[in-house]
């Protein structure tokens, strides 16, 4: 395998970690939103922690090896190309949205844990927080932006 092949493999591995972990987080969030008992909500939201290290590692791998690939690919790619700049902007936005959305989901999980210890009865506050459109928009929006990066990588507009 050439240097380019290895760089591509590591870049794609980062993409699989980042997007695969986004699928894990989205599936668990979807399951949590459909539950009412605080202990079950806490259970699903708590499992998202297994996806977080993969999101971090994937973000780093895609960025480092993606930028390296631009110069090592041997095609006529440039750091000033639209698709490279678009990918970087989307990467920053996706991470920011994921951070804010993740913080809100974590606050909801803490409330669910607290309620689970106090009788485990559903409350309107927990339901409201779980279905908070901003929390859902931030989390699912982050996943959508990561998906847009994949679209950008496949079609490479402006390359």
């Amino acid at each position: 395998m050439s240097k380019y092949d290895w760089l591509l493999f590591l870049h794609v591995t980062g993409a699989f970690l980042l997007l695969g972990a986004s699928v894990i987080a989205a599936t668990l969030l979807f399951a949590a939103v459909r539950r009412e008992r605080p202990s079950e909500v806490a259970l699903f939201l708590g499992l998202i922690r297994f996806a977080v290290p993969a999101v971090g590692a994937g973000s780093l791998l895609t960025l480092v090896f993606g930028l390296w690939l631009v110069s090592a690919a041997g095609y006529d790619y440039s750091y000033g190309s639209f698709w490279v700049i678009a990918a970087l902007v989307l990467w920053v936005l996706a991470n920011a949205l994921g951070k804010f959305g993740g913080d809100r989901a974590e606050a909801t999980r803490k409330l669910a844990v607290e309620l689970a210890g106090r009788g485990d009865a559903p409350t309107p506050e927990l339901t409201t927080r779980l279905r908070d459109p901003r929390m859902l928009a931030l989390n699912y929006g982050s996943g959508l932006l990561v998906l847009l990066i994949l679209v950008d990588m496949i079609w490479k507009p402006g390359a």
């Binding site: 591509l8 591995t13 699928v23 599936t27 202990s39 079950e40 079609w155 490479k156």
Partner: protein
Amino acid sequence: MTASICGPGCGFPLFLHVFGAIVLVGAIATVAIVTWFSLRRPLEQARVLRRMAFTTMLAVVWPGWLAMRLAGQWVLSQDLYSGIEKSDPGWLGVGFIVGDLGVLVLLISTILAWFAYRRTRPEQPKPVTAPIFAGLTTLYLAALAVAWFAMSGKPGA
């Protein structure tokens, strides 16, 4: 970087292939995590987790596999890859093995997931199908990792 060597006409099938593969990997990881975790939870939570694993198999894993496999064949039908199946490169063989044997693994996994959920009862909080299902999905996740190494790095190409 793959699109440029794939050609301008195969953007959508390639996107669908990669998207399906990523959904498949993420969903298989989800059911593995959820089912392993269910083995350490009390009965009621274990049932909730195993039901979620079963519905994820049906609603996310299978659609992901279908998109990955069908779109993969679509990519191969493009001009750039004409005759490649006859030359039988190793990286493509690995992709076919993991993809096609995946049907059998996923079929068995789905049946196991159903039994793991249905047989979780007070007298049997950890039915034997639950750890087998968790182990099988973990092994398939490892096989998918080998396939993404072969498909992206294309060793021997």
